[in-house]
Structures are given as structure tokens and as C-alpha cells.
């Protein structure tokens, strides 16, 4: 489908380097501190990576997204969102199939088909007005669905919250990414920058909420993230109440 380009091979090499650096940091983290939270043995490393990510956001992402939100009309932004959501539908269809969820696979495939054609390449969400449900499944969820445990919490450079399982899944998802199949290097980069801006711009108001809600932003994010991932894998069907230490022993 794609011919390997030099930049892409370089990107592959760089990601491998990144992985090595990550592992080294993790090992260092293990050696220097006994685990306190069983779900987060790499807390020390994770915390410093979170700080790094916040710095990058402050100097780069947030200013860029703010400018983007000021300049680009809402109608265009909706089109941008729909376009990327359409690509995600295709990936969801594949993962729905892998999880043997025919409804998810069929809905998503239908959405992708309808929106790609009648929706002008995904710019308009026609499937939505046809009441075809939108689902979201990624490879990490597929692994979780088949019983692969999440492993410890892991904060990735720039990418942010993840787990060991989901990080492993990322390495498979990368080459399968839909935008990656666009041959023209400039178009591809352009699209990815656009996607990043759109997503970040949507979150501009969220920042202050998070700042105000958390005593410790790191633990808040971690605990909410792990719960959310678990819920996604169980499709929100988790009936078990979380353990409640105080009321158990009344």
C-alpha cells in the first residue's frame, strides 16, 4: 500500500529509541523506589513524564490550538472532526470484528461506507442522521476483551496516560493507522497536525476544570484514566460497585 519512505523509516527507528529510553527509565524507577500503589509501580518515572508533557503542552500545543480555535470557523472544524471520526470508524469496525461483536463491526462499517461516499469523504456525518450508532473500539480494548490484563499504568512521552498493554497495542496500531496510508508526505503531516490542533482546541475549556478539580492532578488523571479504560473494555456493563472500605466495616 505504501512504499517505505526515508522519513518513515527514520520515524520507526526513533520510536524504537524512544522505547529503549522508556524501558531504561522504568528500570531506573524500579530500582530507586519500592512500589506504593500496586497499579502504579512506575510512579516516579510517570510523574516526571507527566511534568514534561505538561511543559510541552504549555509552550507548544496549547498556544497553537488557541490560535487555531480563533481562526477556523466552526463549520470547518465540524468537518475536520467528522473526517477523523470517519477514519476511526473503520478501525473500530476491524476491532469490533476481532472482538466478535457483529453489531459493532457492522455499524462501524456502515458508518464508514455511508460517510465516505454520501458524506463526501467523511466530512459530513450522514450516518448520524440515519441513526447508525457510533462505537469506539481500539486494539487495547480488543486485547482487554480477550483477557489480557492492563499491566501497570504508564505515562508515555507526549502521548500521555496509557498502560503497558495499551502501549504494546500502540506499536501495532501505528502501521495500521489510516492516515498513514496517504502517500503524499506533506498531506499526511498536514492532516496529522490538523487533527492534533482540532483535538487540543476542543479541550481548551477543560484545562481549568481539571486544575480546579484535582488535589493532585497526577493521581486524579491516573485513577480516572484506569477506571475509564476498564469501563470501555467492559462496554460500561460493569455492575460491581467499587470496593468501599469505610462502609464495608460499619
Amino acid at each position: 500500500m505504501t512504499k517505505p519512505s526515508i522519513p518513515r523509516m527514520f520515524a520507526g527507528g526513533a520510536s524504537r529509541l524512544l522505547l529503549l529510553a522508556l524501558l531504561a527509565a522504568l528500570l531506573a524507577g524500579c530500582a530507586s523506589q519500592g512500589p506504593r500503589n500496586p497499579r502504579d509501580p512506575f510512579e516516579r518515572y510517570n510523574r516526571s513524564m507527566s511534568r514534561f508533557n505538561e511543559d510541552v503542552d504549555r509552550v507548544l500545543l496549547k498556544p497553537a490550538a488557541t490560535a487555531y480555535a480563533q481562526v477556523v470557523p466552526d463549520m470547518v472544524r465540524t468537518g475536520v472532526r467528522n473526517f477523523f471520526a470517519n477514519l476511526a470508524d473503520l478501525w473500530t469496525a476491524i476491532n469490533g470484528g476481532l472482538q466478535l461483536k457483529p453489531q459493532v463491526a457492522l455499524d462501524s462499517l456502515a458508518r464508514f461506507g455511508v460517510n465516505s461516499t454520501f458524506g463526501l469523504g467523511g466530512l459530513i456525518d450522514v450516518a448520524d442522521s440515519m441513526r447508525i450508532d457510533r462505537h469506539r473500539e481500539d486494539l487495547g480494548q480488543t486485547l482487554g476483551h480477550w483477557g489480557v490484563p492492563s499491566g501497570p499504568y504508564l505515562v508515555l512521552p507526549i502521548l500521555g496516560p496509557s498502560t503497558v498493554r495499551d502501549t504494546a497495542a500502540l506499536f501495532v496500531e501505528r502501521p495500521s493507522g489510516m492516515v498513514a496510508y496517504i502517500d503524499n508526505e506533506h498531506n499526511r503531516i498536514g492532516l496529522q497536525v490538523l487533527m492534533a490542533l482540532e483535538i487540543r482546541a476542543n479541550l481548551l475549556r477543560a484545562d481549568s476544570v481539571l486544575d480546579g478539580a484535582a488535589l493532585d492532578k497526577y493521581s486524579f488523571t491516573r485513577d480516572a484514566f484506569l477506571q475509564r479504560r476498564r469501563s470501555l473494555i467492559l462496554d460500561g456493563e460493569d455492575d460491581e460497585p467499587p470496593p468501599d472500605p469505610t462502609t464495608d466495616k460499619k
Binding site: 518513515r8 520515524a11 500503589n37 503542552d57 477523523f84 471520526a85 477514519l87 476511526a88 478501525w91 455499524d107 450508532d133 457510533r134 486494539l139 480477550w146 483477557g147 508515555l156 507526549i158 502521548l159 500521555g160 496509557s162 496500531e173 502501521p175 493507522g177 489510516m178 492516515v179 498513514a180 496529522q192 497536525v193 487533527m195 492534533a196 482540532e198 483535538i199 487540543r200 479541550l203 475549556r205 477543560a206 481549568s208 476544570v209 481539571l210 480546579g212 478539580a213 488535589l215 493521581s219 486524579f220 488523571t221 491516573r222 485513577d223 480516572a224 484514566f225 475509564r228 469501563s231 460500561g236 460493569d238 455492575d239 460497585p241 467499587p242 468501599d244 472500605p245 469505610t246 462502609t247
Partner: protein
């Protein structure tokens, strides 16, 4: 392997924004900066939704409790509708007036929440060692934190509606889970409540935990509270909460 859910009752709790996050596989191959931002930020979007909906959620529990024999799902349905209506008709709330928000919370929400239990669960085992005075301060500060955090989200309630899902509980259950969905623009948002039957006649049900998009409110605060208590004790936690509230007090810095 855990038993797999037999069927889905609703398609996806992800929001339009959160949904975008899952477009990231498509963006993985290059522009590290770009794609990395995407992933990191997508996560924040969930928190944002969490915050926004938790607000709505707390808000939904309005109106004083009524008949004792009201079913828990009816109770939630009634509260949801009434509270949404109250928010929509209050221009002060839409304008972000903190006084109006607090008034709404105190008059409509708090009577239907067992906030002592909520705070106790978030504080964990240390709650039982706290003096009554400390327990009261913890509740006050925690409540302020939640109200301040979510005041902004309340202002954004416009055309949302709530659907209560069929109850899966036995008639005699004293604690039940009620599932709802918030429908507005974009994908429906999962919003679940844990309710306890209050003892005695005529007192009905009270909310003691809230789940937005799979994230339980109490559990999300538990580690943070434990960190403070381990480092500086109960008073340390109270101080940290008060400090947080003082910082957020001036309107949006």
C-alpha cells in the same frame, strides 16, 4: 477470563471529542509531535466530560425526597428531569453565578445525597479516626471543591435530556445501581448512580456515588486523599482541600 457482557444496551459512551481520540491510530506514523499531542489531550477530554457530566449528575439529584415506596429508577428519573428544568430556567446559573449554583446545590441536590458517606468513602479508613469536627470540615471542603469545579459545567446545560435504563435489582435491595444516559449533542454520556435506601419511613433513596463514563467520583478522589493523609494526616488533607478551594475562589484566573 471474566464473563463477557451478553449484550450492549447502548452503543458508546464516548463523546464526540473523546471519539476523536480513537482516530489516533490513523495518525500514528509520523509527525510525532502532532500525534502525541492528540493522544495526550484526548485523555484530558475524558476528564473534561467527567467534570461536565458529574456536575450535571449531581445536579440531577434535585428535589426533596418524596414517597418512601418510590422505586429508585423512578426517583432518579424524577430528579433528573426536575433538576434539568430548574437549571434551564435559572439565568443566574447560565451566567455562571456561583451564588445561584450553590443555592441550587443546597436546596435541590444535597437533600438527596448522603454526602457524609461519600466523603467517608473518599477519605478511606482514616475517616473513622477523624473527630466529628474534622469530619464536618472534610465534608464542607469537599463539597466546595465539587461545587466550584462543576459550576461552569452546570452553566452549559441546554437541551440535554436523561434516559433512565431498566433497573436490574431485586425488590428488597437496600443498595442499587441506577443507570442513565445523558443525551444532548454528540454521543450519549453514561451517568450511573449508586443509591442507598434510607432507613425509616418516607425517607426514600439517597445517592452515595456517581459514575460518569465509567469513572466513579469517589474512587477518583481516594488516592489523592490518601496521599495527603499519609503525608500530613487528616488535618493535612483538610488544609490541602481548603487551599485548593481558596485558589479556585477568584473567578477563573
Amino acid at each position: 477470563m471474566p464473563a463477557l457482557p451478553a449484550h450492549r444496551h447502548f452503543p458508546s459512551a464516548s463523546t464526540g471529542i473523546a471519539a476523536l481520540r480513537h482516530a489516533h491510530p490513523g495518525a500514528q506514523t509520523l509527525g510525532r509531535k502532532a500525534q502525541q499531542m492528540i493522544n495526550r489531550r484526548s485523555w484530558i477530554s475524558r476528564l473534561a466530560m467527567f467534570a461536565a457530566v458529574a456536575t450535571a449528575g449531581l445536579a440531577l439529584a434535585s428535589l426533596p425526597a418524596r414517597a418512601a415506596d418510590e422505586a429508585p429508577d423512578q426517583f432518579i428519573g424524577r430528579l433528573s428531569t426536575d433538576t434539568l428544568d430548574a437549571i434551564k430556567s435559572d439565568k443566574g446559573i447560565a451566567a455562571g453565578d456561583m451564588g445561584r449554583v450553590i443555592a441550587l446545590v443546597d436546596s435541590k441536590i444535597m437533600p438527596n445525597v448522603n454526602f457524609a458517606r461519600m466523603t467517608a468513602a473518599a477519605v478511606g479508613p482514616a475517616w473513622r479516626q477523624a473527630t466529628p469536627e474534622q469530619q464536618k470540615r472534610l465534608q464542607d471542603e469537599f463539597k466546595t471543591l465539587l461545587v466550584r469545579t462543576y459550576a461552569g459545567a452546570l452553566a452549559q446545560v441546554t437541551d440535554q435530556s436523561i434516559t433512565v435504563k431498566p433497573l436490574r435489582a431485586q425488590p428488597g435491595d437496600a443498595e442499587v445501581l441506577v443507570r442513565t444516559e445523558v443525551k444532548g449533542k454528540g454521543d450519549p454520556i453514561q451517568l450511573d448512580y449508586r443509591l442507598e435506601k434510607t432507613p425509616g419511613q418516607g425517607s426514600g433513596w439517597k445517592i452515595y456515588n456517581l459514575n460518569v463514563l465509567g469513572v466513579w467520583l469517589v474512587e477518583t478522589y481516594r488516592s489523592q486523599f490518601a496521599e495527603q493523609i499519609n503525608a500530613k494526616g487528616i488535618d493535612g488533607l483538610i488544609a490541602a482541600l481548603a487551599d485548593r478551594n481558596a485558589k479556585s475562589a477568584p473567578k477563573k484566573s
